[in-house]
Symmetry: C3
Subunit: 405 residues, 3 copies
């Protein structure tokens, strides 16, 4: 890994993407998994998926399988889905309910805290306590479930989440529920998927729906226009943003942004911006798609964009939120998991329509899947010059987020 | 290979399975193939599949393809299914009948002893005798066909088979025929498949049918109960076994067991045990499924379990036998081939019913396929602790076989 | 690559095929691609596929994708189908028409000469001229489009093509059009595909249709008979050939042959021979299948066989021609692309029937696909002796072509 990191550093050109093999090589992918697993808190799902003690879901990345469950004390816990006896998968379904976790192979049984409570016929000196399920570091914040996969001490969760708390607070995602979850399995390296998500230079050519939903001036500022290269917000967008921020603060709602430099440990960037003049929420026509959430009693037309680390994001409007996880599965495959959240008492059919709720991002993520897969096909070429540009617009996106309100 | 073997030794912990990569790595798989190919006699099929001169079948493992045929002197021979000219496969079907073996590419023709007898247009100095098909070492014992793939001198077949002759004799498998042959293609490394077959600790959670067919006390003794860990047979099973052995010997039938230690060249273990009180044969309800075979004129309710090497087994009841070959196809794929044998004059429909004959093991092998594939999925995890237990119960199984009658 | 070439040399035995890994290994395949790409001119298609300015097709090999198009000056140009910005594929369809090439990802737009003419929002100092599409060396001769993939100076096209010009001239392929193009995707290494195409020793056992179309004496001379080994043409074929050559020359048509030794840079071999007494063209029954082409006002019953390099061939009869490209796609996969050419004013249905036109080679190439895939399966065996014969008949084929008229 050190050799790889060092190679990456020496081969890296500012404003350009990494050399080809960083998007294709299996050994680098394994190093990536270890690095991301050790250093990041991964947003894997929402606690509303497992409301009762014994509810569980299985999260997969790379070659790993993890059980996330609710225990009898209403805590959420995570364990590798690998029996300590012979290494079999324990939970074979993607979600379910269980009083205890019993391996289908030899019947070893673990309680909901991971302790081995049943292992028939083992000798008298067998130490059950030494054979608990291997835990995965887990934290829950506002209903968001985060995992870290290091064998040692995980990075400080407080440091990781502290700056986001004020941005998360008004949306009260802890009182939300999962309305819809969809997977967009993408045949591309996770870095291409993330780079695509972090820039909006492609929005105009590739995302007509997304562009119709958001203000053209903002998209220009975010990298779809002149501002993307110059690093300056357009005067028009500056005025719009300032006016929106004044009104929003006057209504008692949060505004502002922050963003990390490229050397920050989590590479975070978060802030609030208006969606588009006249649009109340991030829906096809800007009209509400679900009951107002959290502290919002009126629409301020803003969107809270939360970037937690390169693979974990939340976009929250006043009436719904979308979580994004870019879950690496292999050197050339990434599972893009989008999860739409609404107020926990909202009822499908009555308070929200799944199609209307998901339209903007369902369309956009399908487009992203196509363009990212075509990007990967081009990157697989061994003969092309290794000189594609990347970071300019991504960097711009980050600089934009750094804009202080 | 020495490096791998040495790594295996240094990384091996008594009572535990090998490190992860021994179940996943392609280079280790190739080394395994060479090692098993050089040192073992593989039970690949039964001679009744090729009764007439010119009958052949093709046996595949790893990337290899082998022709096994009956020649004009009623001998059985084996050759690599690779033409000496340009390396094409010669026999494309899985079995058939041929007066000579003609390569479909350029028409080179070999007689049934592998000699090149036709190669049109070769120059006068071309030495046909130097271009015979490459033979594979072959031995037939009681109708069982064994192959060894070494380039040099194979291990002594007499040493390999000697201790099994008395156990094979009463079943007279040389007068048997193949009634049914089925493949259970399993997405798992051959070592996981074998480890699964060698232990019965999983029988109770995973094989309800198998457990209903065999005596609970015996299964406990074999590793499904307290005895599996302590290494001791239960008093109840000791009594049952001794009584059955007395009766069986009184009836003039063979009893007894033997088993190899872990350092033995073939890792063999063989013996006879009663199936279950009141059960005459290994069928769903214990009643006969085919005519009595060989020396048996009455049922003694025993089963002869023959372990020839880690990938080759025979289980023989009084009225039928099942051959098992765990044929490695790739690092993550094994072809489990089960072959049911009955007396050669038995007729399907009249003397046996295929469904009834195969029920116990067909159900059990399908279950084994599922649990072994889930085991492999867990073993693929790179982050889990490398501490799964294995050998305790397998070892127990072997110790049990060592029990002297 | 030097190590590989050196290994190849040291492991190569005259008259025998290369060691197994040269037909299976991924690293050797990549070295092959670089070597063939640098040193050869690849015949990829016919210019009639792109008659108008803006017409394009995409040619793929290995992991590469190349756009071949007609520009506004009626020139034909080729570019890597990889955007200079982020490396996305630009043209996603296999052929089409475009006024300019616009990348679907970020909308960067290139004119038909590959110059970047649109890249929105880039900073003032951005140098568009430094971001033209990367060109691929291209030459057109008699409508045949050739590519070379070196980064440096390509081999002399004039040297490459000079000796073929007189053979191409009478067929006037520059006035031809593509009637049919078919892909025969073959699961085999490109070397096995080429070796198969270069020898006719397999014709008799494997190609009954092809053998019914060509004179038996010629096929013997080409390697299907005694002559293949002795290196001598049969007296009968010598007489037939001489007589045909006299008549053909008397009618004012070209005859003759040439062929390279094994050390020549392009390994070329080209010549004219009669198809079969009484056969006018290479069709199932020897009767015409399309209007006469080029300089031919009567049938001379000859076939011009043009070998441009190991992966590029043309077979031209008086009334049609077939181009063959053996396009490597991976270590174990080759796309065999056959393109049937007829006179440009010929109309399907009226002047030619697709089935009749393509019958001989469609049947033959399907047979070749089968035998080559079975050859690859045998070559994948790791245990067989590495002693298959190759070059004897291939070499003979080349010697035959060297025969001076």
């Amino acid at each position: 890994m050190n050799a790889i990191a060092s190679a990456a550093q020496s081969e890296y050109l500012y404003g350009r993407s990494l050399p080809r093999h960083f998007y294709t090589d299996a050994a680098i992918f394994e190093a990536d998994m270890r690095f991301l697993g050790d250093t990041q808190w991964w947003l894997v799902d929402h606690s509303s998926r497992i409301p009762r003690a014994g509810d569980y879901f299985v999260y997969r990345f790379g070659a790993e399988s993890v059980i996330v469950l609710r225990d009898r004390n209403q805590g959420v816990k995570a364990f590798y889905n690998v029996c300590r006896h012979r290494g079999s998968l324990i939970c074979l379904e993607s979600s379910g309910h269980a009083k205890a976790l019993t391996c289908p192979y030899h019947g070893w049984t673990y309680d909901l805290t991971g302790r081995l409570i049943g292992a028939s016929s083992m000798p008298p000196d067998f130490d059950k306590q030494a054979h608990s399920l291997r835990p995965v570091h887990l934290q829950v914040e506002s209903g968001l479930i985060f995992l870290n996969f290091t064998d040692g001490a995980p990075p400080s969760f407080d440091t990781f989440i502290a700056r986001h708390r004020p941005f998360l607070a008004p949306h009260d995602l802890g009182s939300a529920k999962v309305a819809v979850q969809r997977h967009y399995r993408t045949k591309a390296n996770w870095k291409l998927v993330v780079e695509n998500f972090l820039e909006c230079y492609h929005c105009k050519p590739a995302h007509p729906t997304y562009c119709s939903v958001h203000s053209a001036e903002k998209l220009l500022a975010l990298g779809a226009g002149a501002g993307s290269s110059a690093g300056d917000l357009s005067a028009q967008f500056e005025r719009d943003l300032e006016q929106w921020e004044r009104e929003t603060r006057a209504a008692g709602h949060l505004t502002g942004m922050f963003g990390d430099g490229i050397d920050a440990p989590f590479f975070q960037g978060t802030g609030r911006m208006p969606i588009k003049p006249g649009h109340l929420t991030e829906s096809i026509n800007g009209t509400p798609v679900a009951p107002l959430m959290g502290a919002y009693s009126t629409y301020d037309g803003g969107q809270t964009a939360i970037g937690l680390n390169p693979i974990s994001y939340v976009l929250a409007s006043n009436d719904h939120a979308v979580m994004f996880l870019f879950s690496p599965r292999g050197p050339l495959e990434t599972d893009v998991i989008a999860t739409w959240l609404v107020r926990s008492d909202a009822q499908a059919g009555r308070d929200y329509d799944e199609g209307t709720l998901t339209a903007v991002w369902d369309i956009t993520l399908q487009e992203d899947k196509t363009i990212t897969e075509n990007n990967q096909l081009g990157v697989l070429s061994t003969l092309r010059a290794g000189c594609s540009l990347l970071a300019r617009e991504t960097h711009q996106r980050l600089r934009c987020l750094v804009h202080e309100s």
